[in-house]
């Protein structure tokens, strides 16, 4: 039984990433004693919790073969709306959470509907809505944060069991839900089919337009959860929330093996992608390297990951050509 599991594990496409992550943990633990300190683990889990929501928000859109530049803008708009509705209108927390989710989903729907109706690429549409969402954000806040966050939200953002923050609960549930969605649910299959070949999907009875809108709505919802988690974590409703999400949103899914042309993503791979990004960020802090280098490293990592995927593709094609050339 355990042998079978090991065999399946080794064959998984993310096995290499798992080894890299494990190796990273090992090296850092040996290099720095503080790495495995409860506080450091707590910090890394927080970083993971926030990044994974951002990464999955983008992953869904990569699955359908598109890009969503407005992930951060949606997260930011939801964050300040969530904080503002509680501070200004005194909205109860559960209602504010629902309203925040709704805003995220609606923003996503807008992206999806615009791409489907106009036929303009999501890259351009979300570039425009990025600016629109950010503009609404700045219009509401006048670039000032909402400070008056209710105590239970602040508590949730700070509480932990040992080194494990409560904040990690939602992202873990979201990852599990996303795994089922992308691997077992019909709608997830539809998304991957549309990303893989929209013509074939349409001629197989899949509503391509509806699937695209659903993916964008889901992306908006995931970004919304991310935005609200950051509010709980920072304890204020900062208008700048989401500004730095874009790079990691692409880095993690791509490191995790996503095909940018669409049709293939890996939820577990994306998680490992986030873990690797988190480890790198943490290593830079522990080794007292200027944190500004994080962006540079992430950029390099994206190039490396895309390059590796391309290399595999070219190799596979060459192997296929050789196999076909051989007399049958």
């Amino acid at each position: 039984m355990s042998g079978d599991l090991w065999h399946r594990l080794r064959r998984a496409e993310w096995f290499g990433l798992l080894l890299i992550s494990a190796l990273g943990v090992l090296v850092l633990a040996l290099a720095k004693q503080t790495f495995l300190s409860p506080f450091n683990i707590y910090v890394m889990l927080l970083g993971f919790s926030l990044s994974i929501m951002v990464a999955m928000s983008q992953m869904v859109i990569i699955a359908i073969g598109q890009m969503n530049l407005s992930v951060g803008a949606i997260g930011g708009l939801v964050a300040i709306s969530f904080a503002g509705m509680m501070e200004v209108w005194g909205l109860p927390i559960p209602l504010a959470i629902l309203a925040g989710l709704l805003i995220g989903v609606l923003c996503g729907c807008l992206n999806g509907i615009l791409t489907v109706v106009t036929g303009i690429t999501a890259f351009i549409i979300t570039l425009a809505t990025l600016s629109i969402f950010k503009g609404i954000n700045l219009g509401i806040t006048e670039a000032q944060p909402f400070y008056d966050i209710p105590a239970p939200v602040k508590w949730f953002g700070n509480a932990s069991i040992g080194p494990i923050p409560y904040l990690v609960i939602l992202p873990v549930l979201a990852v599990i839900a996303m795994w089922f969605l992308m691997n077992r649910a019909v709608i997830g299959r539809h998304m991957l089919a549309v990303g893989g070949n929209p013509q074939a999907a349409a001629l197989s009875g899949i509503s391509v337009g509806r699937t695209i809108v659903a993916a964008h709505a889901l992306s908006g919802g995931l970004a919304a959860i991310g935005g609200m988690l950051v509010v709980a974590r920072l304890q204020i409703g900062q208008p700048t929330i989401g500004d730095d999400w874009l790079i990691v949103s692409f880095a993690a899914p791509v490191i995790g093996g996503a095909v940018l042309a669409g049709g293939h993503i890996s939820v577990i791979g994306t998680c490992l992608g986030v873990i690797i990004v988190t480890l790198i960020t943490n290593a830079l802090v522990l080794l007292a390297i200027d944190p500004f280098f994080v962006e540079l490293l992430l950029g390099g990592l994206i190039l490396g990951a895309v390059g590796l995927n391309r290399y595999r593709e070219v190799n596979a094609e060459a192997a296929r050509a050789r196999a076909h050339a051989a007399p049958t």
Binding site: V186, G196, L203, G263
Partner: protein, 517 residues
């Protein structure tokens, strides 16, 4: 020296799983218009790509004015004086006519484009073609026929001595075609050699001096003078007659109630008054040349494109099909598309998912979740029944051979338990063995009660499988032929419907934008 003889000797070209060209020869003399004919998949486009340096032949040689040539890229072919005007336009729409003509060698002054020189140098080429447009006009403002002339001007400006015209009249009106033909005759008289690819035999007889016909990647005839050949002879050469017509067993057609009936159907593509009746257990063939509107009709029947008029009935009940989902789940209609790589399969996905795609909605349980086992249980019997050779269900479809890919695209509709199946060109680019297998399969499906609408340009395939054959031309059904399985009689009857000069003449034709073909 104006001698522009181009000779191809015994050229063979293989692609994975298929031999596209098999020892093909052709001899093009200076000052001749040479027709290159053949049905879909006969190898015409491969031959053109070899002449224009896109592909390199595996064996055989290309000789230009008696000298051996080996074009490594399209640039080599252009440098050697071979120009091609493709069926689809290859102009930059926003650029001016002048820039488009001189694009490969724009005149410059101190590193900047010298526009005065561009328009000055382009003008003579336009004048030579009697094209009265200002070279400053953006190409986007021209008609389709004018764009084609600009492409010819562009080819000529590159000192082209050999001009390949790939179905030049597919998207222009008959009158514009006449103007084009006059121009081609003048070019011929000036010593240009022209290769003319067309499906319209009237044009070939009106224009060409010699003809080469390809069939299944081989020469059906090589550089024969057209004088002395009749239309019927050419048709025979194109569709062949040496293939033995396979006989399958008996099957019963249930003629009590039509499984599918179309009455007076029209579409945005230009189909009009299309009527069609298909019974359970019957195979109805839909024959027609490329661009006659067969695949477009299929896509309209399954709800991928809207009908603009007419009535559809499934099993005697009115069936206003609005989407592919509805066609599949409510009316059990499936469509095996012609272009499996583009329309049929998701190449980066597994065999399991490609076959399962049609049944996900049906096997989904709570929360819309499916299990791999449920999917595999439904898919596996069809993988086995169709003898799809794959190492596992997880194998990526892109890694399978063409024949096995085609089986996968059929399997997904069988798994969906369709009662009406439209099969579009099932055996294009497929090896003989798999072809025979697919024929038996289609026959078996019909014998089992499925109503099959078979779209094919392969005449022997049609005659082997179909019970009746409907002939489509210019987006209308122009005739019906009862299949007696007598090859000569049936093929002549079909060709008679298609090439009847009284049909399809003087038509306005669908507007180019709406035709989309």
């Amino acid at each position: 020296m104006t001698d522009a003889t181009l000779e191809i000797r015994g050229v063979t070209k293989d692609f994975p799983g298929v031999r596209a060209l098999d020892t093909v020869s052709m001899r093009l003399e200076a000052g001749q218009i040479h027709a290159l004919l053949g049905e879909n998949g006969a190898g015409k486009s491969t031959l053109i790509k070899i002449l224009t340096g896109v592909y390199q032949p595996d064996t055989g040689e290309v000789l230009l004015r008696g000298r051996h040539q080996r074009f490594q890229s399209p640039r080599d072919a252009i440098a050697a004086g071979i120009g091609v005007v493709h069926q689809e336009r290859n102009l930059i729409n926003r650029f001016s006519v002048g820039e488009n003509i001189l694009l490969e060698k724009l005149p410059t002054k101190r590193g900047l484009v010298d526009y005065a020189a561009v328009f000055e140098q382009a003008a003579p080429w336009l004048a030579a073609l009697d094209l009265r447009v200002d070279p400053r006009t953006p190409v986007i403002d021209l008609s389709v026929a004018q764009m084609q002339l600009v492409e010819i001007a562009k080819a000529l400006s590159l000192r082209t001595k050999i001009l390949l015209m790939d179905e030049p009249t597919a998207s222009i009106t008959p009158h514009e075609s006449e103007v084009l033909f006059d121009l081609l005759r003048r070019l011929r008289d000036d010593g240009v050699s022209i290769v003319f690819v067309s499906h319209k035999l009237e044009e070939v007889f009106a224009l060409c001096d010699r003809v080469t016909v390809l069939r299944d990647g081989r020469n059906a005839c090589e550089s024969r003078p057209l004088t002395g050949l009749a239309r019927a002879d050419i048709v025979k050469l194109m569709i062949g007659r040496d293939e033995r017509i396979a006989r399958f067993g008996e099957k019963v057609v249930d003629r009590r109630r039509p499984a599918l009936e179309l009455r007076d159907v029209a579409t945005g593509h230009g189909h009009h008054h299309v009527g069609l009746t298909l019974y359970k257990g019957e195979i109805v063939g839909l024959y027609g040349l490329v661009g006659s509107g067969r695949s477009e009709l299929a896509k309209a029947i399954i709800g991928a494109e809207p009908l603009t008029a007419g009535h559809v009935e499934v099993n005697g009940q009115s069936a206003p099909i609005r989407s592919v989902t509805q066609a599949l789940n409510r009316y059990r209609i499936g469509y095996v598309s012609e272009d499996r790589k583009h329309d049929g399969l998701i190449l980066i996905h597994s065999v399991l998912r490609n076959v399962g795609i049609t049944i996900w909605n049906r096997i989904a349980g709570v929360l819309g979740l499916t299990t791999r086992r449920a999917e595999a249980d439904r898919v596996l019997p069809y993988i086995e029944r169709l003898e799809i050779r794959t190492p596992s269900l997880s194998q990526t479809v892109g890694n399978l051979s063409g024949g096995n890919q085609q089986k996968v695209s059929v399997a997904k509709w069988l798994a969906a338990e369709t009662e009406i199946l439209i099969i579009d060109e099932p055996t294009i680019g497929i090896d003989i063995k798999t072809k025979t297998y697919l024929h038996e399969l289609i026959w078996g499906l019909a014998a089992g009660g499925t109503a099959v609408l078979l779209i094919s340009s392969d005449m022997p395939e049609m005659i082997a499988l179909a019970d009746r054959i409907l002939v489509m031309n210019n987006f209308a059904i122009v005739g019906e032929v009862e299949n007696t399985r007598d090859y000569d009689q049936v093929s002549n009857a079909i060709m008679g419907h298609i090439h009847d000069p009284s049909e399809g003449q003087g038509r306005a034709g669908p507007p180019p934008a709406a035709a989309g073909v």
